[in-house]
Symmetry: C2
Subunit: 339 residues, 2 copies
DNA sequence: CTGAAAGCGCTTACAG
DNA sequence: CTGAAAGCGCTTACAG
């Protein structure tokens, strides 16, 4: 059996209560006692048992991380590791641990979230996505559990702490940029429309067209799910339209390069024949040919702030709801050309 | 306060012990009682408190995942999400949760590992890397904690459960393949030599040269750390040698494409002037130009087996040590040419 | 400044 | 088949 507080107490000739107070650095304990106890702790190799501690203080010092589903989006998309890096960094600052959802289906994950929150495995939750009609978010919202969301919630928006980019604005800026280059037929290959980010970007796209008095053509919209690879067929269909687009906006750099490869197979040059613009600024995108014009959405910062928000709520349940918008930046590289 | 076993007991007119036994599906409890208790549990919305349960059974049902350090290797390298996906899938099968290390430096991570194991936050550990002289592995080895390693341990190799590819064999095969294409000057840009995988591959590289009676030229070895981006300078130095290589082997696809971009900047064509071969088979590598010849090392399987191994040890501390070799496969694509 | 006691929410011999 | 009691390893009023 491991060393417990009792062993330390006995060895240091004090009570377990005193040892506990030394661990907590209680100011009412004399420095002499503290010193003595600390020495015996070190000497015996004592480490506090989290289970026991957590049970009595009713806290866990850990944050649950929920991804959409492990099989698809979360892991293939380079978004995940980077946002996790941000969360991890902020959590570590506050000595919080990270507990990961492992479910493969929405239903499994839902059960996991309930059990990890009700079962007091975590103090709070970060939802790594915002999806329309999401049961998990609804559950979190209704049970008074501290949580934050990466992405704007579609409902209860004003009563949930979340971090997001200005997706509408980003998309508008991107489309404006392309319009400025002389493009009129601009296609949009977004993620699945169940994700709020996709809807927001679509809205920004439409806004920009409207302002420029360009008509909206539904044929130019391809909304595959974020998770799956780009369908070659969708690209082919797009380029075989009566009036094929001269520019395509995609929602992720890797998708963009997959797209570009299909275009090249069809002898369509980027940016010669078609301009391509994307999101996420993957580390590779400046090195590949063509270097990709892309929007850096500061994924790491999204993670930092998501952690910050849930930590606020954990520390004080009455902490005001906050919404943080992380800046984005369009990086012009060689995948777009002026007409 | 949440619903406890006592509330259920009272509502169902049984003792807390009985409720506990129903949760455990103890066969000595009558079906009638079970039914009654289960109904009240559902009715009251009871969820077992893990902290309490874990405290008494001295288990946590969670595995700690340790990555080299979050700031660098783990997150940028696409290896991490994929191996995590494998671990996650296997852990979920056994209803185990995943607890992530968050430390940014080796020292921080070392402290974390001690505290999460001694503090009984996890039942076992998966080390996502194998590094020479690693304090953490040494600690795990000395304290009787269940753990497994992704990568061959450099010490205590026979007494630690680990999963790995045949790195020596892989590198040999790769170099043989290039030699078969007529290459003689083959450069090797491996990861940092503190990682066993890098050393093993280097050995395989040397083996292959030897067997082909080609001399080993230290100038053709570039060992940057796995974590950092490829130094443009190193590439330049390599190609400005008296006898520059006609083929380069790198340890990751993304690194390979970064390399290719530098070569292109230097007006060196791949595969025209130099062949490039890599490891990891990134999903993008078949789509990019040139499509990359690369070794698929079955990262997902590495994760599955790493989880399997630690789970074995958790279930039975006396379980025999196992070493699992996951198959790899050289995928020939367009980045190598015959001389 | 320190200790004895109760309690966090469970499980599990021991009895019956 | 079921219950009363002890205990997992801590923390924290309450006393002194």
């Amino acid at each position: 059996m491991a060393i417990t507080i009792k062993d330390v107490a006995k060895a240091a000739s004090v009570s377990p209560a005193t040892v506990s107070r030394v661990i907590a650095d209680n100011p009412r304990i004399s420095d002499d006692t503290k010193k003595k106890v600390r020495e015996t702790m070190k000497h015996l190799g004592y480490y506090p048992n989290f289970q026991a501690r957590n049970l009595v203080i009713q806290k866990t010092q850990t944050i649950g991380i929920i991804m959409a589903d492990s099989a698809t989006l979360a892991f293939q998309n380079p978004f995940f590791p980077e946002v996790l890096r941000g969360i991890s960094s902020r959590a570590h600052e506050s000595k919080f641990g990270l507990y990961l959802s492992t479910g493969a289906t929405t239903e499994e994950i839902y059960e996991e979230v309930i059990s990890m929150t009700q079962g007091k495995r975590v103090d709070g939750i970060i939802l790594l996505y915002s999806r329309i009609g999401d049961k998990i978010m609804e559950y979190l919202y209704n049970s008074n559990i501290p949580f934050s969301v990466v992405g704007r919630p579609d409902v209860h928006t004003d009563s949930i702490s979340y971090v997001d980019n200005d997706n509408v604005g980003n998309a508008r800026e991107v489309v404006n940029y392309l319009i400025g280059l002389g493009h009129q037929g601009i296609a949009y290959m977004g993620g699945g429309l169940e994700y709020v980010v996709s809807l927001d970007r679509l809205k920004g796209y439409q806004n920009a067209l409207e302002k420029a008095s360009l008509s909206f053509d539904p044929d130019l919209i391809v909304n595959q799910s974020i998770s799956v690879g780009l369908e070659e067929q969708a690209v082919r269909r797009l380029m075989e339209l009566q009036k094929p687009p001269t520019a395509i906006v995609t929602h992720d750099d890797l998708i963009a390069y997959e797209l570009i490869s299909y275009l090249q197979d069809m002898k369509i040059d980027v940016p010669g024949d078609v301009s391509v613009l994307s999101f996420n600024n993957h580390s590779l995108s400046e090195h590949l040919k063509p270097p990709l014009s892309t929007v850096d959405i500061s994924i790491y910062e999204l993670g930092i702030h998501a952690a910050e928000l849930v930590l606020e709520k954990i520390k004080d349940r009455e902490a005001p709801v906050r919404e943080i918008t992380v800046p984005s930046r369009l990086i012009e590289r060689g995948s777009c050309r002026s007409l």
